[in-house]
Amino acid sequence: MLYREVGQYHTNYRADMRIFPILQDRIGILVILAIAFLGVPLIGGSFFLDVVATPFLIYALAAIGLNLLTGYTGLLSLGTGGFMGIGAYTCYKLTTWFPGVDIVVWILAGGLAAAAVGALFGLPSLRIKGFYLLVATLAAQFFLQWAFERIPWLYNNNISGTIEVPTRTLFGLPITGATATPVTRYEVALCIVVALTWLASNLVHGRIGRSWMAVRDMDIAAELIGIKLLPTKLLSFAISSYLCGVAGAMLVFLWYGSAEPTVFSIDLSFTILFMVIIGGLGSLLGAFLGAALIHVLPIVLRGVPPALGLNIASSTVEHLNLMIVGALIILFLVAEPFGLARLWQTGKQKLRVWPFPY
């Protein structure tokens, strides 16, 4: 009763196929976008933007990338950290060579290199799947992390072995480097994430997304109805790695400011995978919800006990965080394998039929 689509008739296929067929949803998404673009920068302080909002967007983008691969195509990957690193290092090299070109272009271009590498390491997926494929992606992860550490060319022979983000401007406004304000970096990140989410959403709702899901649900049947497995899987690897690569470039350029190779370790791969699992496999909304939960949980854990007057050591908080995340993963897999996204849908359905049970 709170949420009804009664009287909203679709008179053509176009209207029926749109992503938000219900008027309330369309209004909802516009309100969310308005809050994200205007409300958050106006209300949130620079601490909120830097610690919560921008990282959340970046993680969400990476989670969308992995979700395309794991949730939609059914290929498990632990190489996300490595692919994100490729994006970051490519962006860094490109902006070193061509400082005049807009940094956003290079952030987006960094993803292309990640896509190429991702497709390369995705090649074994023609012959193997499941755990076996996981080992192939682990090979990518460990090899790439080794390359970031041992090839000085990648970080311009810095003695520290880190990449330092130079100041780059867009229309005279610094958007990366030390002089960029949190608001600018947040808005740039938001624009990129919204654009790429829109792209990903169109992909998964179209022919490509359907062929991915067919491969996920039953690869032999997919092949029988005429889906070529290798191009489909490789495309999934490439696009997934593209989004991860862009997220990796954003991670360094819009959030960290400088990065060591250890940033792109296997722990990052796990973090992103957990966001996908908890948020919901095969759901773009889930990527955002999962990223929000996993990223915000430690911040809340750190902030709440002192506010309540409890004094908990910071190491204890870290351990509690690990335990809660681990327990949540098992809990979600047991109770709700489609994650937060499914909980959200259930909630929406309840609102729609309220006060009746169904």
Binding site: R127, G130, A136, W146, L229, N321, I330
Partner: protein
């Protein structure tokens, strides 16, 4: 041309001129291979019985070692602490069976696999919360493990064999022999093999799956404990082992997921080859190749022989 010489000829010249170094490297490779093999053994046990690829095996190794050291530090005598740790591993096995395996029965493998990621983080969190995140010394002496080294003069040099490593190799062989005997000749072992063959058929002849799972996870826990003691005595007890434990994956690929001898042979091959590659070819690439070399071997094996050296050939179109 020079590069080709460096890659193809020079390493072998080095091997020929310093055979004692080669022998020492071979020995160290074998020893680290034994430890990989022990971790892989725990994987294989669980994989055969429940079809679960237990990612948490590596953390079970750390967890058991931490429990042992922590109990000893709390004033429990060493051998009693060992028994108590075994009891803890049993409780853990029961807990995992009740809280993870039973609710997830009949779900896709990949879901169970991801549940063991959760288990890994849960165990890291619990372990660090109780015992602290800092590294600890294994109580090797109190458990009557030998220390010191034997220097073997051979090949015009001296090869140093740590007594501890010899003990590790012996314990690993005893474990493998014991497991083989149990699986081949005992009632439990037969039930275990039946479950590995087909869950449903095993259920229909009255084998309790839940019981078998508890036993298998407990056995894997004991293997983890043995691994933890050995590993801890060689270096120290810390959560850094988590990354090392991932090496069990390439070991399994090489040996085959379902074969206990495969885990051992695979572990030895991986241990040997990564040590040799690091010593002779590593400097050409800037060193540190041990972090990824095992995975590259696994990739190559996957391309040509996806079922590994000893695994069952599963014919499946992908």
């Amino acid at each position: 041309m020079h590069l080709l010489y460096l890659i193809l000829v020079d390493p072998f010249v080095q091997m020929g001129t310093a055979p004692d170094l080669l022998a020492q490297t071979l020995w160290e490779g074998l020893v680290s291979g034994v430890l990989y093999a022990l971790i892989a053994l725990g994987f294989v046990l669980i994989y055969k019985a429940s079809g679960v690829f237990n990612f948490a095996q590596g953390i079970m190794v750390v967890f058991s070692a931490l429990t042992l050291v922590g109990l000893y530090a709390a004033g429990v005598p060493a051998l009693l602490a060992l028994a108590l740790t075994a009891a803890v591993m049993f409780v853990l096995a029961v807990g995992i069976e009740r809280l993870v395996l039973r609710p997830l029965v009949n779900r896709p493998d990949i879901i169970l696999f991801m549940a063991t990621f959760g288990l890994t983080y849960l165990l890291i969190g619990i372990g660090e919360l109780i015992f602290g995140g800092d590294t600890k010394q294994m109580i090797a002496k109190q458990l009557y493990l030998p220390s010191g080294a034997i220097d073997l003069p051979m090949l015009g040099g001296v090869v140093r064999l740590q007594k501890l490593d010899i003990a590790a190799a012996i314990i690993a062989s005893v474990l493998v022999a014991a497991l083989t005997v149990v699986f081949q000749y005992t009632r439990i072992g037969r039930a275990f093999r039946a479950v590995a063959d087909s869950h449903r058929a095993a259920l229909s002849v009255g084998i309790s799956l839940n019981q078998i799972w508890i036993i298998v996870w407990f056995a894997a826990g004991i293997v983890a404990l043995a691994t933890g003691i050995m590993w801890g005595a060689r270096s120290e007890v810390s959560f850094a082992l988590e990354v090392v434990a991932l090496k069990a994956l390439p070991v399994l690929i090489l040996g085959g997921f379902t074969s206990i001898p495969g885990a051992i042979v695979g572990g030895l091959i991986i241990g040997l080859s990564e040590k040799l590659f690091e010593l002779y070819w590593g400097p050409l690439m800037g060193g540190g190749t041990e972090s990824w070399f095992a995975y590259v071997i696994a990739l190559i094996v996957l391309l040509f022989r996806p079922h590994g050296l000893f695994g069952e050939v599963i014919i499946e179109r992908i």
